[in-house]
């Protein structure tokens, strides 16, 4: 088992680095790109606090999506909320158990089922609704297949053929100290857990180079995160200010 364990150990190291550095770089790019004009979709909040509340409603309740399409909202909400529950449940592999985690375990377990149901609904739309079929690229289908794969393999372990959870915990617990090189910290020799973990690693790797960027990206959407106060407070981007400072009309005329 050691060879596979070492492979997986390295894979997760790589996947984690790619995820963290990749998403970090994207966030830095979004952060550093100016929003030269005030473009909130109005009616928009007139205070910063109002914007936080608007963003909260978008991220937690998918408010705009709810207005837009109730069926899509249902599947989307089911999938995402289940995903969070599942993720919380999974934290037991990385941190010690606490009361909250113990309490969450059963929810997380059944959330696996609703997550897959939500995903199935989302995937069905890609075949059944002609408009959604038209806009779907192969990657959009594969993304859902990948998540369903993760969900199904997870459910298998949860409800059908249990795997050695303590062993898995030992594997991830030893990640930082490269414990997977040793005889103790390996993974259980169980094909389902290996498939599950492989798919998760793939998900982590593609996160920063795919549409999954919507998760950090939504917080940077100017139509949703800007305060509606252009008359009260002057908003100018650095590059536009440079035009003013140098008294020029066109950016091409600016001296660097």
């Amino acid at each position: 088992m050691t060879f596979v364990s070492i492979l997986y150990g390295l894979l997760f190291w790589a996947a984690t680095l790619i995820l963290v550095v990749g998403v970090g770089m994207k966030i830095r790019q979004y952060w550093n790109t100016p929003a030269p004009l005030k473009i909130p979709t109005t009616p928009a909040p007139v205070t910063q606090g109002g914007v936080v509340w608007r963003m909260f409603r978008e991220v937690v309740f998918f408010e705009s999506l709810f207005r837009s399409n109730k069926i899509l909202w249902l599947f989307a909400f089911l999938f995402h909320m289940s995903l969070w529950l599942v993720l919380i449940r999974h934290s037991r592999y990385f941190v010690g158990m606490n009361d909250l985690l113990v309490f969450m375990q059963p929810f997380g377990r059944y959330a696996g089922i609703t997550m897959v149901l939500g995903l199935a609904g989302l995937w069905a739309r890609r075949f059944l609704v002609d408009r959604v079929r038209y806009i779907s690229a192969p990657s959009d289908h594969l993304m859902l297949a990948l998540l369903i794969g993760i969900g199904m393999s997870g459910l298998m372990m949860s409800f059908v053929s249990h795997t050695d959870v303590t062993q898995v915990k030992a594997f991830f617990g030893g990640m930082l100290t490269f414990g997977f090189f040793g005889a103790e910290g390996g993974l259980p020799a169980d094909p389902i857990v290996l498939v599950h973990l492989l798919l998760v690693a793939v998900l982590m790797i593609i996160f920063p180079i795919s549409k999954l960027l919507h998760a950090p990206g939504v917080f940077f959407s100017p139509t949703r995160n800007q305060v509606d106060n252009p008359r009260e407070k002057r908003h100018v981007s650095p590059w536009a200010l440079e035009l003013e400072r140098q008294g020029k009309t066109f950016l091409s005329e600016l001296n660097k």
Partner: protein, 518 residues
């Protein structure tokens, strides 16, 4: 009348979402601008003939894309984060009216996104087929030109997208790229050129404007017996009024303009137009050119300084109000030389509603009793700006004013008003005869909603607060059996109902007072 089918209205108030069809609106797009027009706006002119691309167009287009996405967070984020959920697909009036797949907002974005992915993302560089990335070809440029001129930048899609992805931002960027490779739109760029040269979209020079306004004063005097002033370039006035130039002559725009004058007259404030900034419209926004939008805006600042006014008020116009409300302070501010007690700039409806609330206008509502009104929320006012000091004031204030001057008012169905309003079909720089088919089809959802209230609630007139909406409606609604005079300006209704109390304008010209014979 036309070689395409005009959609039939049901009067049910809503339009069925059509089945997706491909290429029903494939074409060459609106007329392309000549080199002269491009030059006036600082765009490259090294293309041989109209319709040719510049040399190295591919590299230059990609360079521009890279430049824009580094300067606009909206563009960079929106190109990345769309999940293809399809929530926006049935929200665009052009898709509803034409059923062309590429008029679904996400599909419209994808025209640019697939190129972005191909040249700027890992997945698109190495697995183009998988993520739907494609090379930039002349074919793609043609599609850009065609379909980015089938977007009125109305932002309805942005309201319904879970991330607020605004297709208007994408089409503005696309038009800016196209302008840099020889594919400018004639309609927009010619008009912006006129503003730079003459001061307004119509190319109406100062002298002609003075004549028009004088004629107007005579008309109003004939009508009311009172010499209401429509002053031009009167230095030291309190208010500079900036209004779309269509207000100076088009119907029903001019009736609204008469109304602005009457309101100012009654409230005893001094005001003036400016021949230097005789245009509220700012087509720089439509073509996504910050630089040109700023150039147009600066004229208003210059006029305000030159005329030593204390306040700036804007007339009825949708995109002009978006640029004024949302961008003017950014583009041409800071306005520290104006009176800070008033909003800068202020909408004429904000002014009028304030006066109505104060009771300084004498109103006889029965003057509008021959009409049952409904109100069209203009996209740019509804989703791109505000009136008043609370969110949603842009919906309430116009209705408040209408209800204060009319006895009969009915709203159209809820999913066609407020921030879910449907575009008139002619916004965003598409109000040109070379896009007639698009305009006729794009008006369908609005026409359907109007039909509903005319059939079931006896509505006779639709009021609007945008020069483009008014022009589009008067021209295109007749295709659906409505008549031109069913479209009215909000200040036209005010004008009808106002009973003038002030006999002599505070801006009366002393030399004329003698030969006034009333």
């Amino acid at each position: 009348m036309a070689d395409y089918e005009i959609p039939k209205l049901t009067g049910e108030g809503y339009t069925e979402v059509p089945a997706v069809k491909e290429d029903t609106m494939k074409g060459s797009g609106p007329f392309i601008a000549k080199a002269d027009f491009q030059k006036a706006m600082g765009f490259p002119t090294d293309f041989d003939a109209v319709g040719d691309l510049v040399p190295n167009w591919k590299e230059r287009a990609l360079e521009k894309m890279a430049d824009l996405k580094s300067r606009y967070r909206s563009l960079q984020v929106y190109l990345d984060i769309c999940v293809k959920c399809g929530a926006c697909t049935d929200k665009c009036h052009y898709f509803i009216g034409t059923s062309d797949a590429k008029n679904m907002p996400v599909a419209r974005q994808d025209l640019l996104r697939k190129v972005y992915r191909r040249y700027f993302t890992f997945a698109g560089k190495y697995f183009p087929k998988l993520v739907g990335a494609t090379d930039l070809t002349e074919e793609v440029i043609k599609d850009w030109y065609n379909y980015y001129h089938q977007c009125s930048q109305c932002r309805r899609c942005s309201v319904f997208c879970p991330y607020g992805i605004d297709t208007a931002e994408i089409s503005m960027a696309a038009r800016e790229i196209l302008d840099h490779i020889g594919y400018g739109s004639k309609y927009n760029n010619e008009i912006i050129g006129k503003v730079f040269k003459i001061g307004n979209n119509l190319g109406l020079p100062g002298m002609a404007l003075a004549d028009t306004l004088e004629g107007l004063e005579e008309d109003v005097e004939m009508d009311t017996g009172i010499k209401v002033r429509y002053p031009l370039d009167e230095e030291g006035s309190e208010i500079l009024l900036v209004t779309p130039s269509a207000d100076f002559f088009a119907e029903p725009h001019i009736d609204g303009l008469i109304g602005y004058g009457k309101v100012f007259h009654e409230t005893g404030v001094t005001w003036t137009f400016s021949s230097h900034a005789s245009e509220a419209a700012n087509f720089g926004m439509f073509i996504g050119s910050y630089e040109n939008m700023r150039r147009v805006s600066m004229r208003i600042r210059e006029a305000a300084i030159k005329l030593k006014v204390k306040r700036i008020v804007f007339g009825e116009c949708g995109h002009a109000w978006r640029v004024a409300y949302s961008f003017l302070n950014t583009l041409a501010g800071p306005f520290d030389f104006l009176d800070q007690r008033y909003p800068i700039p202020q909408h004429i409806l904000e002014y009028t509603v304030g006066e109505l609330e104060k009771g300084s206008l004498t109103i006889d509502k029965s003057e509008n009793d021959d009409k049952v009104l409904t109100f069209h929320d203009s996209c740019n006012v509804a989703r791109g700006s505000r009136m008043g000091n609370y969110p949603g004031g842009q919906f309430e204030i116009p209705r408040k004013v209408i209800k204060a001057v009319c006895n009969h008012f009915v709203d159209m169905p809820a999913d066609t008003i407020h921030d879910a309003t449907f575009c008139c079909g002619g916004g965003g720089g598409l109000l040109t005869d070379d896009l007639m088919e698009l305009r006729v089809k794009g008006i369908q959802p609005r026409a359907e909603a109007l039909k509903h209230v005319t059939t079931h609630y006896g509505v006779t007139h639709m009021a609007a607060i945008c020069a483009i909406c008014k022009s589009q409606f008067t021209k295109v609604l007749p295709y659906y059996g409505f008549t031109m005079d069913q479209i009215v300006s909000v200040h036209q209704l005010v004008s009808n109902a106002i009973i003038l109390q002030r006999q002599v304008s505070v801006q009366a010209r002393p030399d004329e007072d003698e030969d006034d014979d009333d």
